[in-house]
Amino acid sequence: MNTKRKNFLPNRKGWLILPVLTVMATVITGCYYDKAELLYPDGGVDCSAVQATYTKVQTIMAAKCNGCHSARNAAGGTVLETYDQVKSKAGRIRQRSIVEKTMPPAGPLSSEEIAILECWISSGAPNN
C-alpha cells in the first residue's frame, strides 16, 4: 500500500498565486460605473442647502483669488474676473483648490468655500 501522503499545499512559488488571485478578485468584484450626478440626482442634500451660485463663487474669487489672478497681475497667465474666465478654468480651480488644496497659496479655502465651489462645478458651472 502506498503510504506516501499527498501534499495539497502549493509549493513556495505556488503561494504567489494568492496575491494575484486577491487582486483579480478585488478588480472583478470592486468595479462600479457610478457617476455622482446620477447617483445623487438632486446634487446631494448639502449642495441644495449650499445653493452654490456663480454670485457666491464670484465673491470667493474676489476675496481669495483676484489679488493675483486679475487682468492686472495675471499670475501664471490666469485671470479669474469674468464668468467665462472662471468657467473655462473650472477644472483647474477644482484641481488646485479642492483636490490639491494648494491654492490659494496663503492657505486652503474654508470648508464652506470648498463646498460652494464643489457644488457649483459639479452642477455644470451655471451663470446664476
Binding site: 504567489l16 487582486v23 478585488t26 457610478d34 457617476k35 442634500v45 448639502d46 494648494t102 497659496p105
Partner: protein, 293 residues
C-alpha cells in the same frame, strides 16, 4: 627508465590536453548561455510610470516622492517650492520578475498598491528575445473624508484600478525605450458626461549621459476618457542620478499625482502655459533577504 619518463610525459600531456578540452568546452558553454539584459532604466519608475526594470529578489525599495507647486506661481511662492505633495512607498522584490508595492500620497490622502510581473525578459545569446514584456496591476483608495456628509457614500466610490502592459527594449548601453498602454478605471466620477474608464499610451525613454547620470522622459498620451479641454497629457522630463544605493530622479512635470490613477486622470497643468512643477523621486534599496546560492 627513459621509457618510464617518456611514458609519464605522454600521459601528462594527454591529460593536460583533455583538461584543456574540458575547460574550453566549459568556456564555450558559458559564452553561449542566454543572458538577461539588465539596467535598461536606473529605477523601477521612468519618472511617474513604471519602467521595465525590476528589483532583485529580497530587495526592498524605500521611495520618497515630492512634487512641488507650479513654477509659474512666481517668486512669492518661491516658484512652487513653498508647496509640496508627497508619496511615501515601499516596493519589494518577491522574485526577480515579481515585485509588489504599496504607497500613500498626501494628495487626496490616497493609498495605492500594485503587483508587477515580467513574464518575458529581453535577453541576449542563443534564443534571445528582443524586448521585455511587463504586466502591472494596481488599485488606489482615496481615504479623504467626504466633503458632503449628508450623502450616502459607498466604500467602492473611493477605489480606482489600473492595468498596464509595458513593452520595452534596451537598444544600447545608452538608450532604452518602452511603450505602455494603460487602462484606468475609476469607480466614481462627478459628471454624467465623464467616463469611468480612461485609456492612455505611455512612452518612456532613457538616454545615458555618463556612468551615473541619465536623461529620462515620461509621456502619457490620453487616448480616450477625459475632456482634453480640462485635462492634459502628463509629460515629465528630468535626470536620473545614481549615487551608491540611492537613485535620485530630478524632473519637471505638469502632473502632481504620483500613482497611475492620479497622474493619468488628474493632470491639468499645461506645459505651453508654464504650468509645470519641479519634483524628485528618491529611491533607496535594502537587501533584506540574501538569495541562496
Amino acid at each position: 627508465m627513459q621509457k618510464l619518463v617518456l611514458g609519464l610525459i605522454l600521459v601528462t600531456a594527454l591529460q593536460t590536453g583533455y583538461a584543456q578540452d574540458d575547460l574550453l568546452s566549459l568556456v564555450g558553454k558559458d559564452t553561449l548561455k542566454r543572458a538577461r539584459v539588465t539596467n535598461a532604466f536606473k529605477s523601477s519608475r521612468v519618472i511617474n510610470g513604471h519602467s521595465i526594470e525590476f528589483l532583485g529578489k529580497g530587495v526592498l525599495d524605500f521611495r520618497i516622492l515630492h512634487r512641488f507647486g507650479e513654477v509659474s506661481d512666481g517668486i512669492s511662492n518661491l516658484f512652487g517650492l513653498d508647496q509640496a505633495s508627497m508619496r511615501i512607498g515601499l516596493d519589494y522584490g518577491l522574485l526577480n520578475n515579481l515585485t509588489v508595492g504599496v504607497g500613500r500620497s498626501n494628495l487626496g490622502k490616497e493609498l495605492d498598491g500594485f503587483i508587477k510581473f515580467c513574464p518575458v525578459w529581453q535577453s541576449s545569446g542563443p534564443g534571445a528575445f528582443p524586448f521585455s514584456v511587463v504586466l502591472v496591476g494596481g488599485v488606489t483608495l482615496n481615504t479623504q473624508s467626504w466633503s458632503d456628509t449628508a450623502r450616502k457614500h459607498y466604500f467602492s466610490s473611493r477605489m480606482a484600478f489600473y492595468n498596464e502592459l509595458i513593452i520595452g527594449r534596451k537598444f544600447s548601453e545608452r538608450f532604452s525605450l518602452q511603450l505602455s498602454p494603460v487602462f484606468v478605471h475609476r469607480n466614481l466620477v462627478e459628471l454624467e458626461k465623464e467616463e469611468n474608464d480612461v485609456y492612455a499610451l505611455g512612452i518612456g525613454a532613457r538616454f545615458k549621459l555618463t556612468k551615473r547620470i541619465a536623461f529620462v522622459a515620461d509621456y502619457h498620451y490620453i487616448v480616450e476618457g477625459l475632456d482634453k479641454d480640462i485635462y492634459k497629457d502628463p509629460l515629465s522630463v528630468g535626470f536620473d542620478i545614481e549615487t551608491g544605493g540611492h537613485v535620485f530622479q530630478l524632473h519637471f512635470s505638469n502632473a502632481t499625482g504620483m500613482n497611475e490613477k492620479a497622474f493619468i486622470t488628474n493632470t491639468t497643468g499645461d506645459w505651453g502655459k508654464g504650468e509645470v512643477r519641479f519634483g524628485f523621486n528618491l529611491s533607496r534599496v535594502f537587501t533584506v533577504r540574501r538569495p541562496r546560492h
